[in-house]
């Protein structure tokens, strides 16, 4: 798939110079107006974002949204139709060797020869890099330390997946690009991988995470780009995205006595007060729960069985893409 270096030319030029002026500092990954088509299919359409050094940046979206194409363009596996990409200031279409040294990549589908041992695969990949990471630390963190002598084919799916994460990080990359890294892992292994990723971030590694797993995105990502049909539909912190889903929160409680609703309606956070049997249901925004409870307490009324409903990242996903994340990628993508 040797692609020409011919790109860099007309469409990318002015965009590249313009955006470089805006964001020279701190951007580990900078993508501007990326567009990639496969024949008539537009996989990625005008995607722009910048990832700060040391950030964990999530790319979230339904199947076929263009997540994988975006990261594959970023690491130089595919050449974009137009737009500009810089990783630590380097254009993957121009200096691929440099990109491969500073990035560590985990691809969605990828296996190894059945009859190689784990240690042999690890040692080979380690030798590819000029400044590799500490293998025993990585393998230990991902529970593969006692598997070095095992044949690849004898590993469970989860162990193969963890090996693939180890290999992505083995070059001590400055930017780690991980595509569905915890697919097929049991909950404990998943948490081990999350701990490792946070640990790496704390040491300054930039992480680009493609995922459809809400809990993972919520726990790890500093910011998330939500992609649908090749476009970014929202880019925010996990909490910010969740708040966008409805912008409203609900507090429901059982008051000790009946009370004048104006105690609540005059609060700036409150937009509506309703009754549901014995319960009072307050909708609003901001720090709604605190405001309601303080106001009730001041008025001398006790609040029982307080329940707070806030919208989640999942609500945001559903609202912004019109699809449910579990239908998006729970089937194995091979």
């Amino acid at each position: 798939m040797q692609v020409g270096v011919a790109l860099g030319g007309e469409p990318a030029g002015p965009i590249a110079s313009g955006s470089q002026a805006e964001a020279t500092s701190e951007a580990a990954v900078e993508i501007s107006h990326l567009r990639k088509t496969y024949g008539p299919l537009v996989a990625v359409d005008d995607v722009s974002f910048a990832v700060t050094e040391g950030e964990i940046f999530g790319i979230l979206g339904p199947n076929g949204a263009g997540k994988t194409t975006t990261v594959e363009c970023a690491i130089g596996l595919r050449s974009p139709d137009s737009g500009s990409i810089r990783l630590m200031g380097v254009d993957p279409q121009v200096d691929r060797a440099q990109i491969h040294e500073i990035t560590g990549v985990q691809l969605q589908s990828g296996a190894f020869p059945a009859k190689l041992r784990v240690g042999e695969i690890i040692d080979m990949y380690r030798s590819f890099y000029l400044h590799p990471a500490d293998v025993s630390e990585l393998a230990g963190a991902l529970g593969l330390a006692d598997k070095r002598k095992s044949y690849y084919r004898s590993l469970s799916g989860g162990q193969q997946q963890r090996l693939s994460v180890v290999l992505a990080l083995i070059g001590a990359p400055r930017i780690a690009v991980l595509d569905e890294m915890t697919t097929g892992l049991d909950p404990q292994a998943r948490r081990d991988v999350w701990d490792l990723i946070e640990h790496l971030r704390d040491r300054g590694t930039t992480v680009v995470l493609v995922t459809h797993f809400m809990e993972e995105a919520e726990r790890l990502c500093d910011r998330i780009a939500l992609i649908d049909s090749g476009r970014i539909v929202a880019l925010d912190t996990p909490a910010g995205l969740a708040a966008r889903a409805s912008g409203t929160k609900t507090v429901r409680f059982h008051p000790s006595v009946t009370f004048d609703e104006r105690v609540l309606t005059r609060l700036p956070e409150v937009t509506a007060v309703a009754h549901d049997g014995h319960n009072v249901v307050v909708t609003g925004s901001g720090e709604l729960a605190t405001a309601v409870i303080v106001a009730m307490h001041t008025a001398g009324i006790e609040t029982h069985d307080v329940r707070i409903d806030t919208s989640t990242l999942e609500d945001a996903f559903v609202r912004l893409t019109g699809r449910h994340p579990h239908e998006a990628g729970d089937e194995p993508q091979v």
Binding site: S25, A27, G89, P113
Partner: protein
């Protein structure tokens, strides 16, 4: 952001050593090709050598014995079997498994894996040929090759032609099953024209003419002539070189890394 120097990192050469080592391990752990290529050739040398009728010079074979005739046939046979067992099949499965694609995200170019395979197979071929030659000389009294330089040239061209054909099969086959099918479809006619089943010298003239233009049909007289001390004529050497060039070009043209 710290700026990256203009120095272009290059994958350490030790990486290539590790790739060769792992390919050698894989060949060792899946020894079908070693057995079919090296084992069978040496075994046939021993069996043919033990049959008295095969050792008797025959006028219809130009004064040589059947055993004499078979040595270059078995040599070219082992080159073909090793090249075809290890080159197309595993290479296509590496592509199917995404190994080539995964490699192209590392500082190591994916073609290094191909080069590592060729290194391992070349070593395997050299050892096999050395065994065949040594056993023939030591146990069956055949005289040593009289023109070693011509022999090395003939063998090198044979290897190049067969590697090129193997790579072309790897390039056009989409699945490793298809690669195995194409490999068999290429190998068996080639072996027929090499004289493995029946000496070409005793076949009808038109088959002998066709044989001259097949890879093994050209390899056998080139190796045979070198052995008895004549520098081989240009025809078989040119045929082998043409196969290497044409199929080398096709392989390069059509090879897909993913």
């Amino acid at each position: 952001m710290s700026t990256l120097a203009v120095t272009r990192p290059r994958a350490p050469l030790a990486a290539f050593g590790n790739m060769v080592l792992n390919e050698a391990r894989l060949a060792w752990r899946q020894p079908a090709g070693v057995i079919a290529g090296a084992g069978v050739a040496v075994l046939l040398v021993v069996i043919f050598g033990e049959i008295p009728a095969f050792r008797a010079p025959s006028a219809s074979l130009g004064g040589y014995s059947a055993f004499d005739i078979y040595i270059p046939i078995l040599m070219s046979f082992s080159i073909a079997v090793i090249a075809f067992t290890y080159l197309p099949g595993p290479l296509v499965s590496y592509r199917e498994l995404g190994i080539l694609r995964r490699l192209s995200t590392t500082p190591v170019p994916a073609y290094w894996l191909l080069a590592a395979q060729i290194v391992v197979q070349t070593c395997l071929m050299v050892v096999t040929l050395a065994l065949v030659v040594t056993v023939s000389i030591v146990f069956f009294g055949i005289s040593a090759p009289k023109d070693p330089a011509a022999m090395v040239l003939s063998i090198a061209l044979t290897m190049a032609a067969l590697f090129a054909i193997g790579l072309t099969i790897a390039a056009v086959a989409r699945t490793s099953g298809a690669a195995r099918g194409l490999m068999a479809a290429a190998l068996y006619p080639m072996m027929f024209f090499s004289g493995l089943y029946y000496p070409v010298q005793l076949m009808p003239a038109f088959i002998q003419d066709i044989s001259k233009y097949t890879p093994l049909g050209a390899a056998v007289p080139a190796i045979g002539d070198s052995w008895v001390g004549q520098f081989p004529p240009a025809q078989p050497l040119l045929v082998l070189a043409a196969y290497a060039l044409v199929f080398g070009f096709l392989a390069k043209r059509f090879f897909r890394w993913e």
